[in-house]
């Protein structure tokens, strides 16, 4: 058990854990401090210069980098802080491509949140000498795209690939106003070591890294991934009667919020037109559609002729426990043989 730290933010009494930083403590207590480069899964870096606070009336300090201390008095706003933040946010917005209505991040954009909080005035942006930013959009990955014109250089994607995925496919390229995020040698994503897991996409605070298809779900259902034996916890996003998205379950100990490319993006087979929708019975070498009753009657009569060692069943590592239980129960109790196996060895 870590020690509790008592201090105040804007006069509000706060109880935090030792080792926590001021920004996390504020957010945990529903106190907003503007920020763009902070993510709870990642080590703080203080890059965006937006989360500045004053402690005990002293100089401004970045709240994401400052640990909580007993008895301190934190101010999240002052004329000095306001001025510093305003310059930082105006510089970020000045050359940002603003097609907010069509932007995949519109409903969840940290840049819009900060702008709204700061009351950014478009006319003030006009006085800035804007850089012409018309960089090519990388659409090489089939599931997501990277639009550097919307990037705020927060580095969350770079740190995610490094700290969460352990891959390091992304880095910063060039310096100063020319800085962009890119792969090694600034090649298209698909030509890099990128594994398309999308961990950077889900953490991007703006619309720079965004899914190619809209993923807005009307409702979600908690379940478990269909692919490998890791058994990642997921939420299926549903629109109408179709699965439109997959989101990782952060509470499940198996994956704690992580997913791979198959788990996150490999769900469209569910709605594929090749899905079998009717029982099929082969007649004269061709399949013909049948009703369930006809198919089940035929199977029941044929299986009845092959009881005992003339029967075998292959259960499925893709079916549920309950289904596998029934298949082996059927084989043993109804058909009278132990010849039931599945692909465990393949």
């Amino acid at each position: 058990m870590t020690n509790q730290i008592n201090f105040t933010i804007d006069g509000q009494e706060i109880v935090a854990q030792e080792g926590q930083n001021i920004l996390d403590a504020a957010l945990a207590n529903d106190i907003y401090i503007p920020h763009l480069c902070h993510h709870p899964d990642l080590k703080p870096v203080g890059a965006c210069r937006l989360c500045g606070v004053e402690i005990d009336g002293g100089h401004m300090t970045m709240s994401c980098l400052e640990p909580v201390r007993e008895g301190i008095d934190v101010r999240t706003d002052s004329p000095v802080i306001y001025q510093a933040r305003k310059i930082a946010i105006e510089l970020l917005i000045a050359d940002h491509h603003m097609d907010c209505l069509a932007c995949a991040a519109a409903h969840d954009c940290d840049l819009l949140t900060v702008s709204a909080y700061m009351g950014v005035q478009p006319e003030r942006l006009e006085r800035l000498r804007k850089t012409e930013r018309d960089l090519p959009i990388d659409t090489s990955n089939p599931f997501f795209q990277f639009d550097p014109n919307k990037c705020v250089i927060c580095g969350i994607c770079v740190r995610t690939c490094d700290e969460i995925v352990g891959l390091g496919a992304l880095g910063f390229i060039d310096r100063g106003v020319s800085t962009v995020v890119g792969t090694f040698g600034n090649k298209p994503f698909v030509e890099s070591v990128c594994e398309s897991c999308g961990e950077c996409v889900v953490r991007c605070p703006v619309g720079a890294l965004a899914p190619k298809k809209p993923e807005f779900a009307a409702r979600e259902v908690q379940t478990t991934c269909v692919y490998c034996g890791v058994g990642c916890g997921i939420y299926l996003g549903i629109s109408g009667d179709e699965v439109v998205s997959v989101r990782a379950d952060r509470e499940r100990p198996t994956n704690e919020g992580s997913l791979c490319v198959k788990g996150r993006y490999g769900f469209n087979f569910i709605n594929h037109p090749d899905r079998l929708t009717k029982p099929l019975i082969k007649k004269n070498g061709e399949f013909e559609e049948a009703e369930w009753d006809e198919a089940l009657e035929l199977i029941a009569s044929k299986f009845a002729e092959s009881k005992g060692e003339k029967f075998a069943a292959l259960a499925s590592a893709k079916c549920t426990l309950e289904e596998n239980y029934l298949i082996q129960k059927f084989t043993r109790a109804v058909m009278g043989t132990n010849s039931v196996d599945h692909c465990a060895r393949l």
């Binding site: 490998c228 299926l236 499940r252 069943a313 465990a344």
Partner: protein, 530 residues
Amino acid sequence: MTNSIKEIDGAKTIFVIGANTTNAHPVIGQRMRRAAQNGAILLVANPKEIDLVRVAHTFIQPKPGSDTALLMGMCRYILDKDLQDQAFIDEHCENFDEFKASLDAFTPEFVEEITGVPWEQVAKVAHTYATNKPAALFYAMGITQHSHGTDNVMAVANLALLTGNIGKESTGVNPLRGQNNVQGACDMGGLPNVYPGYQNVTIPENKAKFEKAWGKLMSDKVGLTHTEIFDAIYEGKVTALYMVGENPLLTEANAKHVREALENPDLFFVAQDIFLSETAQLADVVLPAASFAEKDGAITNTERRVQRIRKAIPPRGDSKPDWWITSQIAQKMGEHGFDFSAPSEIMDEIASVTPIYGGISHERIEEVGLQWPCRDENDPGTQYLHKGKFARPNGKGQFVPLEYKQSAEIVDAEYPLILTTDRSLYHYHSATMTRRVAGLEELDSNEWLKLSPADADQFGIEDGEWVEVYSRRGKVKVRAQVTDVCPTGVCSMTFHFHESPTNEITNPALDPVAKIPETKVTAVRVEKVS
């Protein structure tokens, strides 16, 4: 897995042998890479230079089929240097002297010759695993898919026992299971020798227990395994097959034989699937099943965690959940004991006859699941096995003396290369699902024969050109990719692509105990397509 996925974070040494984690279990691969960044020593043994090697501290490249020699060589080094956990061995293990005597054959010279790994590297890996504890060992089908796969697994267990790296947090013998519910299909008795919960069918008390529970007389004879079923169909001994959610034409070794068997006109073949797979096309009746998003139930992952799946959308068309279909067939045959209205009722029956699932119910696994053994409703489940004492009748871990056995096929003048199979990050098994996801197909759309630059030179193969790969069972046509990932003498293919059905040429030689085919070692030759 004896231990849990999350315990990777606490391991000081992570030893991955015969597993391509970042491709086949990517989220565990991510966790291993994170652990390596945070200070764990990552050791990788694999015939191929897999992606995980990029962050490994030590990488050794044993020849395919040489794992028993490598692991027993490591044991020998550990004993020679007196690095074993003698107190653990004395208190918790048996058969140590017999095991120790069997190490005499594994001299450094012998191990070097068989594995192709210099002894100092064997020693380095062994030294780290034995001294930088806790050490967790992970393996997958690179260890098991051999005609001596059982020996390989025993060798892994010997190493863990010798160093006391078992029965404690962040240690363990951790096989990474493939499919999302392959662990559960085994747990449920989807195996020819055991009832649910690994209760052997040949033990009279078990038979009596299930006859009472199910109200039917049952056989005490061990049934046929996967590979044996197709032999029996071919020979006309099995005349009806009920196949649920499988595609052995792409996944079974020597798949041509599977096709020949299923084409037997006397066979009545029922296939139940979500797609008309290559294998289902040969069926007499095909039943449309609901996908995982369209039904309720539970599945068990590689760390024995029983987790829920939930119905999110209605089944497509007239497709039905598999549990409903099997129940209907039984009821049409006039049988009782299959009138379930929901999977939760089936789970309650499972709990009543399966001691390791005794405390599992849908209600208890709503949020994060439970890890078996979970014997009653108050049991919180089991994070890691063999704590304090081993889960054997006498509570002791058993050392197993081993000798080296070579693979069933070895290279010769006619078939000079070893073909080993692996998996792509972008596809799953026979790829009936993943190849119907346009983006995954775009990222990986065809099979590649990977082979080393030296072998490409020797056999006159250019990168990207079409070749034919011949084994003693046939040939497949595939494009060649010349890459340093494969060492000289070893080539590899996945088995996801029906256009290049790799398993038509792999070796069906079986391990005598586990009956697993030797798909990791097939002798082949590669020729240009003229």
